[in-house]
Amino acid sequence: MTVARRLVSTGVAASLLLAAGCDRDAAPQTRIVADGDPGHGRQLIAEVACGVCHIIPGVRGAAGTVGPSLAGFAERNLIAGVLPNTPSELARWVRDAPSLVPETAMPPMPLSEDEAVNVAAYLLTLR
């Protein structure tokens, strides 16, 4: 993209941003009722940096393109195209994906079981 176009789009984006204000605490309402604290989940996602590989709405800087975007994740039927997208499966998946799907590129993440539940809770707010 040329700088001129970038400047224009950045300018537009800047004004939208200011019009919309800060969206940090505007997490969407959840449809799937999951145990766990989505707010803490979002914080954990930022701390272990899931955003290195995934686009995750509501988590700043989460713009990775190594793995799939997690936008609208709550609407998905399957995790990684294999597992049913339920809170418990998702919590297992984010802790230790390879144990469920050996061919995945997603490594196990340093989360406790409770933490994984919170992370799953947040992801299931993404519609």
């Binding site: 700088v3 400047l7 300018g11 800047a14 800060c22 700043r60």
Partner: protein, 844 residues
């Protein structure tokens, strides 16, 4: 009416018919496309300030983009590459294309009327400086849209900016573009110095000169001594980038710190170069608004001079974290404290003036109060960062960003806004709106404090400058968001100001709104394109207050030079201290040479950036051709003395020591000498960082070549002297063959000397790319060659003028100037030889 009150004015009433019409005809402004040919400073000043404001808006938009990116941590609005271009361009444009040109523009715009000159002495030089700035600056801006904008920071530190780490042309854009615009600033400075010293109204001795004229004199003097350091630095870095001369490459004996010294030797005075004129605005505005003469005029003059000098002793305080010896740093720390005293004097002089009168809270007054608030904070944080250990924490953080914006916005932007609201009635049929103006002042005040005060905290919380993003969780979120909101409040204020301009600015100097503030200084006299109808005799610092009929008498033509005495544009040249009339100087009218010379000079520099060498040389040749054409007509020679009124007959266009062109040449030589001094500094600096000087294996140039060069230089000087003798002893219009031979001989000897110098380096086996030692020797020789080239052109013009019968007897100003410059080239050449040939032996 005035007949009875002032019977002893120089010129009687009524004025002869046709006198005013003749004056108007001579000073008539060109119309249509020929507006580009205008050279009159008050008109050029308008173009100038308009362009500067345009650049201010552009750089402001860049700042808004940066603030939008930094509003939130890990924001992705702007990527790293664009962000790095944004902050580089923001700093560069604000400093080089807005701040210095804006205050220089105010000088060019206001000085002629403030000292009641018809115009400053070198109108074409101002026009050239403006067009060079306008065209060069615009091309520089465009680089951002072509993705070739510089991205190594406005300070361009090598090695980041050098060929190895920035191989594309972006750094060249900066070095050539900015180096070139500096030259334009110097041209303006020459105009201002000679203008202030020599074109003041009769009687306006130095003790009656408006403070603004004092600050512009010091301002221009500072440019003369500071900007050459920048030009030297950019030239060396460009030589390194283009030809691999290793001035800043540590492995080959160079040192990146050399750049920092040169850059900040310019860069620190730069801050005061910007601040002093702005302080000058205040010293004009505050007394008018308080309705009392300025309290502490002498103290302010002292403070201005003191600041001008002391600011040159501060440059290392930008380098406290580079690991210099503690005691060197503490000198600069102490000097930074010392420079706070003159600023304190000025602030308290304004406060005392406000106290002595009764200040109405008009729009300019609000900006003055905003200045006092913001600039004081900036000054206090400046004292903090002058404290070496504190600076180790604050340096290169947002604390510094906060500090410098408080200083520059407080010290320059607020006074500039005050000045615009104050002086617009002088150039516009309508004044600006008081109602809107007050809202603008409040918005800017709130916005600036909201944007920049939290940055102090961001910096102390550890946020470095020039980062395109920052992580969540370091405590920088709130302060950054506040800063962004503040930036947009500033933008709202500026937008409202533009609205006010659009609604109310109706440019006209001839039918302006007039002396709406009831001010006391001469710029508020009724004016036409010719400035004042007649040139007054000044007897006090606030003539309009102290001489009640002055405006009417001036307008009636009762003072000096009520018409045109020579049938050309002209002004009175007065002595520099007492302002006694000395001669009438004829001034050039509109012409294409400044515009075309500037356009082709700009083209030459910009083509060099993209390595289009042949087209660049062609453009350069055309530019030089234009300047030759301009010089050819510059010296029209003395004319019969004329009567300017009151029985005072003045010579027209004198020659010799008192001529304006001689003064201009002296200033130019000071500039050239400073640049040479910077190269010598580079030589000695590189000596201190190199254990071996010259480095092992570097050949020693043969002393016999150097001796030959020295003899040739001395011969050149003698030839200039002899040429002058021939010219003056035979007071005849056509000097003889002897004179022409001497001129050619002098130029040839100077040329042969520099060639001999270069040959001796080459023969000794030295190559500029081998080591910093070779590079600096060739750089010094190259600079000598450059000046010699200029001398050849000047000598060529003198020779041609002699053939054309345009030189001889008292008509010899072009020769005097050339010979003066020729002597300087000789002195510089001898010093260069002495240092480069004798010093290595002394040192080892």
């Amino acid at each position: 009416m005035s007949d009875t009150t002032a019977p002893d004015l120089p010129n009687p009433l009524p004025r002869p018919p046709g006198e005013l019409e003749e004056l108007e005809r001579v000073w008539r402004r060109p119309r249509g496309i020929r507006r580009l040919t205008e050279v009159n400073n008050s008109q050029i000043g308008l173009y100038y300030i308009g362009t500067a404001v345009m650049f201010f808006l552009f750089a402001g938009v860049l700042a808004l983009l940066m603030r939008a990116q930094l509003a939130l941590p890990e924001n992705a609005l702007v990527d790293h590459d664009l962000y790095n271009q944004l902050f580089t361009m923001h700093g560069t444009v604000m400093m080089f294309l807005f701040a210095v040109p804006a205050v220089e523009a105010m000088g060019v715009l206001l000085l002629p009327s403030m000292v009641a000159a018809r115009d400053l002495p070198f109108p074409r030089l101002s026009a050239y400086a403006f067009w060079a700035y306008f065209i060069g600056g615009t091309i520089f801006l465009v680089s951002l849209f072509l993705d070739v904008a510089p991205r190594a920071g406005w300070f361009m530190y090598p090695p980041l900016s050098s060929a190895e780490y920035t191989p594309d042309v972006s750094s060249d854009f900066w070095l050539l573009g900015i180096g070139f615009i500096e030259i334009s600033a110097i041209a303006g400075a020459i105009e201002i110095i000679v203008g202030v010293l020599r074109t003041r109204a009769p009687g306006m001795s130095l003790d009656k000169m408006p403070v603004f004229a004092w600050v512009m004199l010091v301002f221009a003097g500072m440019i003369v001594f500071a900007f050459p350091a920048m030009i030297a630095g950019t030239a060396l870095l460009e030589l390194e980038r283009a030809f691999d001369w290793p001035f800043f490459i540590a492995e080959r004996g160079g040192d990146p710190l050399l750049w920092q010294h040169l850059f900040w030797f310019f860069g620190h005075p730069e801050v005061y170069i910007i601040f002093l004129p702005a302080a000058g605005f205040l010293s004009m505005i505050v007394p008018t608004l308080a309705r009392r003469p300025l309290i502490g005029y002498r103290a302010i003059v002292l403070a201005v001079i003191g600041t001008g000098f002391l600011s040159f002793g501060l440059w290392v305080h930008h380098m406290f974290t580079t690991g210099l010896p503690a005691i060197s740093m503490s000198f600069f720390s102490a000097a930074s404290m010392a420079v706070a005293i003159p600023s304190g004097i000025q602030i308290f002089a304004w406060i005392a003036t406000i106290a002595a009168g009764r200040m109405q809270l008009t729009t300019p007054a609000l900006f003055v109060l905003g200045f006092l608030f913001i600039f004081t904070i900036g000054g206090l944080s400046g004292v903090m960062v002058a404290m070496v250990p504190f600076d180790w924490q604050a340096h290169d953080t947002y604390f510094i960003v906060a500090h410098l914006h408080y200083v520059l916005i407080g010290g320059m932007v607020f006074p500039l806004f005050a000045a615009i609201y104050y002086w617009v009635p002088m150039i516009s049929r309508r004044r600006l709106s008081e109602r809107i103006g007050k809202v603008v002042a409040v918005l800017l005040f709130l916005g600036v404090n909201l944007a920049f005060f939290p940055m102090h905290v961001s910096g102390l919380m550890g946020m470095p400058r020039r980062v395109y993003t920052y992580p969540d969780g370091l405590g920088w979120e709130v302060t950054n968001l506040l800063s962004t909101i503040g930036a947009f409040v500033i933008a709202a204020g500026v937008a409202l100001f533009l609205f006010d301009l659009a609604r109310n600015l109706r440019l006209s100097t001839t039918r302006n709104a007039g002396n709406v503030w009831d001010a006391g200084t001469l710029e508020w006299l009724p004016t036409g394109t010719y400035q004042t109808r007649s040139i007054p005799i000044v007897t006090s610092r606030d003539p309009l207050w102290d001489q009640p009929n002055l405006a009417a008498d001036v307008e009636a033509g009762r003072y000096y030079l009520p018409g045109t005495a020579t049938g050309r544009r002209e002004t009175i040249v007065t002595s520099s201290v007492d302002a006694r009339p000395q001669y009438v100087l004829t001034l050039p009218g509109p012409g294409w040479t400044p515009f075309f010379s500037a356009a082709f000079t700009a083209a030459a520099f910009m083509l060099l950036t993209v390595k289009a060498v042949i087209p660049a040389i062609l453009c350069g040749a055309i530019a030089i051709g234009g300047i030759i054409a301009w010089m050819w007509r510059a010296d029209i020679g003395p004319r019969a003395p004329v009567d300017i009124g009151g029985g005072l007959r003045l010579p027209v266009n004198i020659t010799g020591r008192n001529a304006h062109a001689t003064a201009g040449t002296v200033v130019l030589i000071l500039c050239a000498g400073t640049l040479f001094g910077c190269l010598l500094f580079a030589y000695f600096f590189l000596w201190t960082v190199n254990a071996d000087w010259p480095p092992a294996g570097a050949g020693a140039p043969s002393p016999s070549w150097a001796a030959i060069a020295a003899v040739l230089l001395l011969a050149a000087s003698l030839a200039w002297r002899a040429g002058r003798g021939v010219l003056t002893s035979h007071d005849q219009p056509r000097p003889r063959l002897m004179f022409r031979l001497l001129v050619l001989g002098a130029a040839a000897a100077a040329t042969a000397a520099v060639v001999a110098d270069g040959v001796s380096l080459w023969q000794a086996g030295l190559r500029p790319a081998d080591s910093a030692y070779g590079a600096i020797l060739y750089a010094i020789t190259a600079y000598q060659a450059f000046l010699t080239g200029a001398l050849i052109i000047m000598a060529g013009i003198v020779f041609a003028r002699s053939l054309a019968g345009r030189i001889g007897g008292p008509w010899r100003l072009s020769f005097e100037v050339t010979a003066l410059f020729g002597h300087y080239v000789v002195v510089q050449g001898l010093v260069a030889l002495a240092v480069t040939r004798l010093f290595p032996g002394v040192a080892s």
